[in-house]
């Protein structure tokens, strides 16, 4: 097993770019995690740029209807059936992810102090947060599909009558689609929603799996034996990246 001791020696005194030491003063693993996150940032950017381009090419349409307003579609909340509550559920989801991000970073901080008990406790909170987020997203998908969302078509083209109907609603009003409210709209709308939130959800799922693995390792004392909790930091970088992506998914899919 490699030795991780930090005793200063001849190599420490070399100039920064002379080789033999990390010019970034981070470990190999952490640097590679950053490079991976950069490439993953490009992946998500390509999806969001595609979304933006598709949306902007359907601002108005003489053939179908224009891009639907998210407030008219994502307005459901669990156990409050038939009420018009736009943005509320997704704000709760955002809160869950931010909360699980702070418990993750508290686990990293506890790792710096080599406090195994605290690391495990905060990691368990983080896993609970991640699982809760996934549950919320599953509910969101089921509701959306139940409303008629499909990958190959879009029945969320809001007609003039539908816009009038939705325009009269205020927060918390009773809401049900009426005949003639909806017609065919721009096809990529639901497909892009499923692809982007699905891709993000898959990242959350992978993050939860990674977190479970490192929590078990921490609990079993693997990092204690190793002398450092760097693995928690690497898992943390990934988890915060997932949170970061959600900030933009939230902004572009729900707020705008």
């Amino acid at each position: 097993m490699a030795n991780h001791s930090q005793t200063p020696n001849a190599f420490e005194n070399q100039t920064m770019w002379a080789g033999g030491r990390s010019p970034f003063n981070v470990s190999y693993g952490k640097l590679m995690m950053w490079i991976f996150l950069l490439s993953d940032a490009f992946t998500f950017s390509s999806l969001l740029v595609q979304y933006g381009a598709q949306r902007f090419s359907n601002v108005v349409s003489p053939i179908t209807t224009e891009w639907p307003d998210p407030a008219s579609i994502f307005n459901h909340f669990p156990f409050m059936h038939g009420l018009h509550l736009p943005l509320l559920f997704v704000s709760v989801m955002t809160f869950i992810l931010i909360a699980s991000s702070v418990t993750m970073v508290l686990a990293v901080e506890a790792g710096h102090r080599k406090s195994k008990k605290e690391v495990v406790r905060y990691m368990v909170y983080t896993i609970i947060g991640g699982a809760a987020f996934l549950g919320c997203q599953a509910w969101e998908w089921v509701t959306f599909i139940h409303e008629g969302a499909r990958l190959d078509s879009n029945t969320f083209g809001i007609t003039a009558q539908g816009k009038e109907h939705l325009g009269k609603l205020s927060f918390g009003d009773h809401f049900e689609w009426m005949l003639g409210d909806r017609t065919n709209g721009p096809v990529p709308f639901a497909a892009l929603f499923f692809i982007v939130t699905g891709f993000h959800g898959f990242h959350v799922f992978s993050g939860v799996v990674i977190n479970v693995v490192v929590t078990i390792m921490a609990y079993k004392g693997v990092f204690e034996k190793r002398g450092h909790y760097e693995m928690i930091e690497k898992a943390g970088l990934y988890w915060h990246f997932v949170d970061l992506v959600w900030v933009f998914v939230f902004t572009f899919f729900y707020l705008i």
């Binding site: 490699a2 003063n25 740029v49 902007f56 090419s57 900030v247």
Partner: protein
Amino acid sequence: MEFYNKPGEYDAINYIPPGESHGTKELWKTFWILLGITIFDFIIYFAMDPGGWRNFIFIFFGLVKAYFIVGAFMHMKYEKITLALIILVPVVFIFGLIAGLLYEGNAITWAKW
């Protein structure tokens, strides 16, 4: 030739810089800022009419949130500037791509008439 990663010696691949704790105060502060911005977004969503200014506020505060997540939570503020630049500078080019494709997308809208 000698290799650096002989057991017991300094080696660049397995070198772990000593972890430093900056305390939990900043982390909780960041949490409250992120939560505050999310609530602010929620209020603005209903307080303002849809349009360019509202979207500008949402994107601006989205970037503020990104700054706090990357800076404080991902520890980027405390990394070496070389690492921060290598990761952050390529991302800046994405904004150019977004601007270009939104402009072209908008042109397609009107070309369809």
